[in-house]
């Protein structure tokens, strides 16, 4: 039987606020253990949590970007469970009446557009961090700095059908929260985390199968791989006449398998109830309008604009707008260079290769957009050849010097003066009589050999157009 996968993702995004969601402790990463704590986030009796306005703003901003309805009335609930990283014995979250609902996100897999529903986005507090002792140590160690750091949980509809689509959804979501500047999107460090629900059903069926919940996938690649593994595992189970059991499974990236957490987990029974310490949140139209004004141009809109305004191919526009840093880089560079396709080629080729596609590296890349623009203008004017430009680019990367200085210091200016090139051309012709004979007897391909020799003799600096012209004249 043919099966299809039904996948829904729950994504936790750590918000980039300065202080925690319900107290004034810092959210800064990397502090000494338990230094960013106070009676509120430590869960002391008698304290009163007070909501951080920016958490609401960031969540509304995300809700608007994901086409959600922003609920005018929402409230917080307690999710009860015991774990050492949760000092209160409950997590403050939202259950009924979340802040945002009924949104969607468009993804593109192999040129096919798909609309993935967003069920809800709610606000909640993060838990602390446990460090487990080495073998033989019978203790764990708890750091509560992260307790109370604001999170947004973004829940998708079970609209995703393949592991590729799941990875595309995550990439798009990451790109959007980064454009919105509400989350740094770092999956490896855990500021963007993803759990997946996956079940199989016969193709054409409408009823849902029994699902497994996958956790611990800390990169786009791992999300896709874990789901691929799970599709195979569940297919095999069903084909052998067995059945999938509802459970939580951990992705083990080293071994490339998902493993049951059975035994560790009892049935979820969180006994949600409205948190009496927090009053309901009312968001009026004026507040939503205020947030709307802070929305930047989003990746899809930017991509369309890049295609229309700069006449770039869809592929280029998509690569350039995938990260805000890259899009800003492109526009800054093109403002000076005024040659969109050339700028795009340099960015997608040399720049992305040097920066390994990393947004932070692009932001701090020694080759500033103005420098790349200057270099491109030098190619346009014929001061340097495209080939020499590769050397100049590598040198800019290394030293951070401007292209003009590099060209001067390394004496890389293109030779366009015919008199100078003629000398080289004549030398090369004189030194290779056999090839001259071949060319004259009709083997025109030998011309390439001569061009190569002249370029070599000029150390790449001779203007190729002039070289070609002179060679044809003399041979």
């Amino acid at each position: 039987m043919e099966y299809e996968a039904v996948i829904g993702l729950e994504v936790h995004a750590q918000l980039k606020t300065k202080s925690k969601i319900f107290c004034n402790c810092s959210t800064a990463f990397g502090a000494e253990p338990n230094h960013h704590t106070c009676p509120v986030c430590l869960g002391m009796p008698g304290v009163l949590p007070v909501l951080n306005r920016e958490v609401v703003n960031y969540t509304i901003r995300t809700g608007l970007a994901l086409n959600c309805t922003i609920n005018s009335f929402s409230r917080f609930a307690r999710k009860n469970y015991f774990y050492p990283d949760l000092p209160k014995g409950y997590q403050i979250s939202q259950y009924e009446l979340p802040l945002c609902e009924h949104g969607y996100l468009m993804i593109d897999v192999d040129g096919r557009e798909r609309r993935i529903g967003v069920t809800r986005i709610h606000m909640e507090e993060d838990a602390g961090k446990n460090i487990h002792g080495e073998k033989g140590d019978s203790s764990s160690y708890v750091d509560l700095n992260r307790t109370g750091v604001p999170l947004m949980e973004i829940v998708s509809e079970p609209d995703i059908r393949t592991p590729e689509e799941a990875a595309a959804y995550m990439r798009k979501l990451r790109s959007i929260v980064r454009y919105l500047d509400v989350c740094d999107g770092n999956m490896e460090e855990g500021s963007l985390r993803c759990d997946a629900n996956i079940s199989l059903r016969p193709v054409g069926a409408t009823e849902l199968g029994v699902k497994a919940e996958l956790k611990n996938m800390n990169s786009f690649k791992n999300v896709q791989k874990a789901l691929e593994y799970e599709v195979k595992r569940q297919t095999r189970l069903l084909e052998e006449g067995g059945s999938v059991i509802q459970e939580t499974r951990l992705w083990d990236a080293d071994r490339g398998v998902t493993l049951s957490m059975r035994g560790k987990e009892e049935a979820h029974d969180y006994r949600y109830f409205p948190d009496p310490d927090l009053v309901p949140l009312q968001v009026d139209d004026a507040w939503i309008e205020e947030v709307k004004k802070t929305l930047p141009e989003l990746p899809d809109a930017k991509m369309e604009r890049f295609m229309a305004e700069y006449d770039l191919p869809r592929y280029d526009a998509e690569v350039l707008t995938a990260s805000r840093e890259l899009a800003v880089y492109f526009e800054a560079c093109n403002k000076e260079a005024r040659s969109p396709k050339v700028v795009s080629n340099w960015i997608m080729g040399d720049l992305l290769r040097e920066c390994k596609g990393d947004d932070q590296e692009i932001l701090h890349c020694p080759v500033r957009p103005e420098m790349l623009a200057e270099m491109i203008r030098m190619i346009g004017k014929g001061t340097i050849s495209g080939k020499i430009a590769k050397t100049v680019f590598a040198e800019m990367m290394k030293s951070g010097k401007s292209p003009e200085i590099i060209v001067k210091e390394k004496n890389l200016v293109q030779i366009t003066d015919e008199g100078e090139i003629v000398k080289i051309v004549e030398e090369v012709i004189a030194a290779n009589p056999a090839q001259v004979e071949q060319f004259r007897s009709g083997k025109e391909k030998v011309l390439g050999f001569f061009v190569g020799q002249v370029m070599k003799a000029s150390r790449g600096k001779a203007n190729p157009t002039v070289v070609n012209k002179l060679l044809k004249e003399r041979l």
């Binding site: 202080s19 402790c25 007070v50 306005r53 920016e54 460090i131 160690y141 309901p280």
Partner: protein, 94 residues
């Protein structure tokens, strides 16, 4: 009966309470009495009453996103039975 022995055992388990058989009987009886008492509210006709989200009619108690000093580590750890290099030390979790 408003509540069963099984439910009492389940709730005790969720609350990490170890109850003897006698205690389960005792609490089942007491909880049943409490739930029956509360049930009296169901006799009221609330068809025209708006659901209450909170006992006080206040909305939007909100603070600005500002960092203030946290408390000294000594105080943070002062109630902990065991600590180690600034961490709370607990029995091994996994």
């Amino acid at each position: 009966m408003k509540i069963s022995r099984n439910e009492v055992e389940h709730v005790a388990d969720l609350a990490r309470l170890e109850l003897s058989g006698e205690e389960v009987d005792q609490f089942t009886g007491q909880l049943d009495a409490i739930l029956s008492y509360i049930d009296k509210l169901n006799e009221l006709d609330t068809a025209d009453v708006e659901p209450t989200a909170h006992v006080i009619h206040v909305g939007n108690v909100i603070r600005e996103d500002r960092v203030c000093d946290s408390i000294p580590l000594k105080e943070t750890l002062s109630n902990a039975p065991e600590t180690d290099e600034g961490f709370f030390k607990v029995p091994k979790i996994i």
